[in-house]
């Protein structure tokens, strides 16, 4: 069935004759069906049709009606009569399956007959064994098998043995058998069946599938199963808060709009200027969670008016599941608490409610404390243009300020942490032997990444990154057709490497003189194609990602403090790739010049998935030219934007029309592509 060439079609004359015959049977059948004729003769005709064409859905449905009709006429108390009717159906299915083993209608009809209470399940299993021999990977047969076993209440352990036999004795290139195995094991582990604790089960299965992988490293079925196992090993069950802003023990300085006067002392702390009298509180989890609310997260602080905080998920998808949650805490610079230290205590998980998509609750209650200084503002807000070229001061490498900015990870309290760590260690040793295969390299890189996230000892943290980066470089050379994927993974690893220690991160941190000495992270010229490790630099307010290979701004949505962002000289093709910027309410400076926007790729396929141009066009109204609807969707939320570089280096219609559109959407805009706009 697999990898075998199709037989050549029969001669045209013969097939024409066949078609003629089929058509006449079909029209007769349809007339019976419409007139609801369920005589023996009419039923025979439908059987004839199905024997020729098992894909005739209407005929299957007709037979169901006919069975119902017949059953209603006979004496229910005589089981032999019922059985004879149902047996006939099974026979018709068997004939149809002989013609096409993968006929959906036929398999479904069989299920339907069985659900009528026909009970010769033994016979069903025999039939299945026959079909599964004919085609090992006939997923219809495997599906049906699961259905029958459900009815027979066969112990799942027995079925597990069956898959082992199929894999051992017939062939291990059997996706269906491996898949069935993963289904059975998931269920057995979930039921906590005897001998199926996650730790032992996964170790046993990993050892088993190694045999297949090492025997034939090009066999995909084994790899699929392995990836499933790896997922089970690496993914912690209980969600974990990995970072926050402000971080535990940190001191932040808040001020109102305008120029904060105190540049000498500010370098030690994060300063945050807010026009609205509030600042964001960001929680970052290692997996998407829901249920973050004022009842699950309690705030204890002297700042007024923060009792019923509204927590919002920060995600592109319209869902209540997100890794990043943000709430806005109010403060008032005019209050008498001015220049006073305000301690804020945040407690998570005191009452259960924060839950992962897998249904696991946040492990243990956790709390952190930060201090807020509120300063008044002196002078007017700066109106100068941000040029990204100068005005940067090196971060004082000696300063220990960074430690207070970077949160240390919360210890993982997952019950399986130790065995998972152990299992990954064994896997790494194992796959070092398969280093000359491309799958081996990829798995090794993934395993090393997984181990890296589990290392809690600062001394050895980051020890794997150079190896991981080299592996992805090798893979790019080895398998250029998947180049982009490896490049993305390389970027992820590189960003994790950069942020793995305060030392390496501080080398890329600067203070921007012209804007209150805010912290600027410069990740330019790193050939990054994807953004990652954002949780490590939530405190950053100015981010330089220019001269990379980014094709999307995805991931930046978590950076709620960000006010200046440089994405020039990247590979962003469309406005929808900038969609995540919508969440950055503080953004004042944005440079997306020199990308491919509106250029060679006018049709952005992602648009069909997320945005609906037509429904939005009404909202835009008459004033906004319809052709900029995608730009509008991103820009409309960037209310504070003062400086935008967009036209240069992009194939946009650089004209009065576009700039007037931009000014209309962004009323606060002062600089457009380096030109000061007339107010």
């Amino acid at each position: 069935m697999h990898g075998r060439p199709r037989k050549a079609a029969s001669k045209p004359e013969a097939s024409a004759a066949k078609a003629l015959k089929l058509r006449s049977v079909q029209s007769q059948f349809m007339s019976n069906h419409h007139r609801k004729i369920y005589t023996q003769e009419a039923i025979q005709l439908s059987a004839k049709l199905l024997a020729i064409n098992p894909e005739a859905y209407t005929a299957w449905n007709y037979r169901k009606l006919a069975v119902e009709d017949n059953l209603s006429r006979i004496d229910d108390s005589d089981p032999s009569l019922v059985n004879s009717i149902l047996n006939e159906e099974l026979e018709v299915v068997a004939i149809a399956l002989r013609r096409n083993l993968k006929s959906y209608g036929a398999w479904y009809h069989r299920k339907w007959v069985l659900s009528k209470g026909h009970s010769s399940l033994e016979k069903e299993l025999q039939l299945l064994n026959k079909y599964q021999k004919l085609d090992l990977r006939n997923f219809h047969a495997w599906n049906y098998r699961r259905f029958v076993l459900e009815l027979t209440k066969t112990p799942q352990q027995d079925e597990l043995h069956y898959t082992t036999d199929m894999i051992n004795d017939v062939s291990f290139s059997n996706y269906s058998a491996w898949h069935n195995r993963s289904e059975l094991l998931s269920s057995l582990v979930a039921k906590k069946a005897d001998g199926f604790m996650p730790k032992e089960t996964i170790r046993r299965e990993l050892d088993y599938v190694h045999n297949a992988i090492f025997t034939d490293e090009d066999d995909q079925s084994a790899w699929f199963y392995y990836l499933w196992l790896l997922d089970q090993t690496v993914k912690m069950e209980t969600p974990l808060r990995t970072s926050s802003w402000p971080s535990d023990g940190s001191i932040i300085i808040l001020s109102g709009p305008g120029c904060f006067n105190g540049s000498s002392s500010s370098s030690k702390f994060t300063t945050f200027c807010s026009e609205s009298g509030s600042f964001p509180l960001i929680l970052y989890f290692d997996q998407a969670v829901s249920g973050v609310s004022s009842s699950t997260v309690t705030i204890d602080s002297e700042l007024q008016g923060n009792q019923d905080l509204v927590w919002e998920p920060v995600s592109d998808k319209n869902s209540q599941l997100s890794c990043v949650w943000v709430a806005r805490l109010k403060f008032d610079s005019a209050e008498p608490c001015f220049r006073k230290e305000n301690k804020v205590k945040v407690s998570l998980g005191k009452s259960q409610g924060i839950v992962s998509s897998r249904g696991c609750y946040l492990s243990a209650p956790y709390e952190f404390v930060f201090t807020v200084h509120i300063h008044d503002t002196v002078g007017e807000p700066q109106e100068g243009i941000v040029l990204w070229t100068d005005g940067f001061d090196n971060w004082d490498a000696q300063s220990k300020d960074l430690n207070s900015l970077i949160t240390s990870d919360q210890l993982n309290a997952d019950t399986g942490f130790e065995w998972r760590k152990q299992a990954i260690k064994i896997e790494i040793e194992c796959f070092r032997d398969l280093h000359d295969s491309k799958f081996g390299k990829l798995i090794l890189a993934r395993l090393l990444m997984a181990e890296e996230t589990m290392i809690s000892d600062d001394a050895v943290k980051g020890v794997h990154y150079n190896e991981i980066l080299q592996l992805y470089k090798d893979l790019m050379a080895l398998n250029s057709s998947h180049d982009q994927y490896y490049k993305d993974e390389h970027s992820v690893a590189l960003l994790h490497k950069v942020t793995s220690s305060t030392e390496s991160l501080s080398r890329r941190l600067f203070l921007y003189r012209n804007m209150n000495n805010i912290v600027c992270l410069r990740l330019n010229n790193l050939t990054l194609s994807r953004i990652a490790a954002v949780e490590k630099f939530l405190f950053v307010q100015m981010l330089d990602l220019s001269h990379n290979e980014l094709h999307s701004a995805e991931g930046l949505e978590a950076m709620q403090l960000l006010c200046c962002l440089n994405l020039c000289h990247n590979r962003i093709r469309s406005f929808s790739a900038l969609d995540s910027l919508r969440h950055l309410k503080q953004l004042r400076v944005l440079d997306v010049s020199h990308n491919d926007m509106g250029g060679k790729h006018p049709v952005d396929t992602t648009r069909y998935l997320c945005s609906r141009p037509l429904s939005n066009s009404a909202e835009i109204g008459r004033q906004v030219p319809c052709k900029y609807w995608d730009a509008y969707l991103v820009l409309r939320d960037l209310k504070k934007l003062k400086q935008l570089d967009i036209i240069r280096g992009n194939d946009l219609i650089a004209g009065e029309e576009f700039s007037s559109f931009v000014r209309q959407v962004l009323p606060k805009l002062v600089w457009l592509d380096g030109h000061k706009l007339a107010s």
Partner: protein
Amino acid sequence: MIDIPPYPPLDPSNYDLIIVGTGVSESVLAAAASSSGSSVLHLDPNPFYGSHFASLSLPDLTSFLHSNSFSSPPPPSSPPLPPSNNHDFISVDLVNRSLYSSVEISSFESEILEEHSRRFNVDLCGPRVVFCADESINLMLKSGANNYVEFKSIDASFVGDSSGELRNVPDSRAAIFKDKSLTLLEKNQLMKFFKLVQSHLASSTENDDTTTVKISEEDMESPFVDFLTKMRLPPKIKSIILYAIAMLDYDQDNMETCRHLLKTKEGIDRMALYIISMGRFSNALGALIYPIYGQGELPQAFCRRAAVKGCIYVLRMPITALLLDKETGGYKGVRLASGQEIFSQKLILDPCVTVGLESLSSLTDQQNETLSVLVPKALINKEKVSRGICVIRGSVKADVSNALIVYPPKSLFPEQLTAIRVMQLGSGLAVCPADMHVLYLSTLCDNDDQGIKSLLSAMSNLIRLPDPENHQSDSVVENDTCEAKPILLWRALYVQELVKGEYGGTISSMPSPDGNLNYNEIVESALKLYEQLMGSEELFKEETSVENTTEENDGGVDIED
């Protein structure tokens, strides 16, 4: 010798070809020659088909080995008659050459064996199997001889060593996957090597050298063992490939004792045979199959084929003398033991038939030349094959009935120069009674002692040799340790000479059974002789299986294309 019953004279008395002996090569030739229209008379001095390839009952085997061995007294030859001068030709008396030596047969449970004695079909030339992709199978299909034989699969093949443990030979993707003794890395290396060989074979058959990997010419000419080293295969895997898949005899790592250093080219061919055999017949379990009722069925099948095509068969009929033309010294015919003189164009003889040296002295040069192939040569290397047959109760491996076991060189003891092959066959193949198995062992050797020593070493590794002293007072402790080992009921040990076939124009001599596991070299030499005898006449041209017998036999292997 056998008493010759009164026999009616044969009619006609003139043939294209007379063949003496019904071994595999003689029978293939008989079938081929009669199928191409030649008139053939096929004789055998024995009362059974197969000569040295026969499968016999235990008493028949015993008497055959004794009567054909050096230790037996020379047959009472009637005083050589003076070359008769009453015709136009002279007659030269023939002598039987003994192929076997050091024959030692012992029975430990005579009563049981006697009771079942006729239920044994024991091969003289064991251990021997057929690879599914063997030339012999092709020949059977081509000739139609496959209609007379039924095969079953050899269930498993193992590699053994002095520890007594038998490890599965990982000879396929599934077997490598399931193997428990190889490390993951070894599995990877072995499978990669298989893939390389397969890819090389694919590239050489399809002539498409664009994508597939091919082994370089230089590597193909290098020793196979060096190539395996170059491919970074560990010693354990090298040993499996060399001795359990390529079925080599001599230690390829020891240049001093290795008589036959295999080239990569040949090694790849041997692996190809194995690999292609694995998948040839859908109902065969592995690469190897064995004929039900024993190897003797194979020559018999060809003989039947020959008989269908008009070949005349006479068993129990030795020939006593050759008839040569008085003038030219050329071959004329033979004198049968019945006294009748039969004439033919050409003559093919069993390897046992030779001319006595004393009769040669009185002949002319021309006559000597005619008989040259029958003169025993001083052998350059005294290579022999020692064989052993054991009847055992129980099996050497639980749950396995028919199995091949290979002991690579040096695996049993340091001085072991050649691989020892052991084959166990069970009652499913109709070779022995139900609860027993027959074990065949063989190894190449230079002298009898060396060969017998190797066989005994392998036997003690696999089976319990009955100890008459300890037999009554069985100590419980000892029984515990060797409980799993089957017990020996009957044993035959013998050493067989390796005689090469020779083409001599009118008179040709056929080879003795060789030391290999299959028939490839034997069949090859028979086909070569056919070509020399018949010219470029196509082999079995009309036989392309017209009859199509598709009998469903459980466990049997249908060898049909």
